[in-house]
Symmetry: C2
Subunit: 122 residues, 2 copies
Amino acid sequence: MRKSKQRDAILDYVKCSTEHPTADMVYEAVKLSIPNISLGTVYRNLAQLVDEGFITVVETSDKKVHYEGNLTEHIHLLCKSCCNITDVFMKTDVPDVFSSTGFKIESQKTVYYGICKECRNT
Amino acid sequence: MRKSKQRDAILDYVKCSTEHPTADMVYEAVKLSIPNISLGTVYRNLAQLVDEGFITVVETSDKKVHYEGNLTEHIHLLCKSCCNITDVFMKTDVPDVFSSTGFKIESQKTVYYGICKECRNT
DNA sequence: TCGTAAGTAGTAATAATTACTGTTATCAAT
DNA sequence: ATTGATAACAGTAATTATTACTACTTACGA
């Protein structure tokens, strides 16, 4: 993988963001420093960065893909009301499904749905 | 919510299917008994059934929404190789995030990624 | 410095989902 | 049972996130 300032800027933004941005959000953000960057470039590089393991994706109920730069193990709290995703850095223990199913677990994603503090208080 | 044979057929199919069908798969299946059903009808009813809590959705890495009729608590095993989703009916204990974040958990979804038995053996 | 191939901008195409429109079916009240 | 309101429908058009394509540009090893 060669170096490109576009990919550097994209990785940088996703790594620093805590809001699990979509491709479009990354595009808007990176455009501030590279005004003529192409949306296609953003999509291509995000996919590449996921492939190479630099970032991961978060599947949510909206039909856009969200990206995440923090690879430390954590869970997601998804508020049904405001749709915000909150990170909680904690480990969850992986069950033994191998002995019964033969499935070899490599990674996991846990999402809890509910109402966040702010939305409960209003 | 009024009764309609289209919605009955859709709910019936999703409830009985174990393959986490997409809207299009539901459409194709229901078309066998109601040949002139509209794809829009399938989408509308699936959304309605989710809203009413009769079925749920499974977010996967492909960009289609998958539906699920089995509401018993279980986890999903997603094979990176064949993309199959396997259900494992087991409880996972919910961590206490309320005391630190004020987030009230209502439901959860846990997905494990890896390689299934069949794909490992080939 | 030069050749090659990875990367890019800009635009066109794709595919899942949603919106719209005129018609039909459900069902509560007469 | 008939009727009237409106939820639901089929069929189709529109939208939107994402992917593919093309001609040009840049990174980098020889």
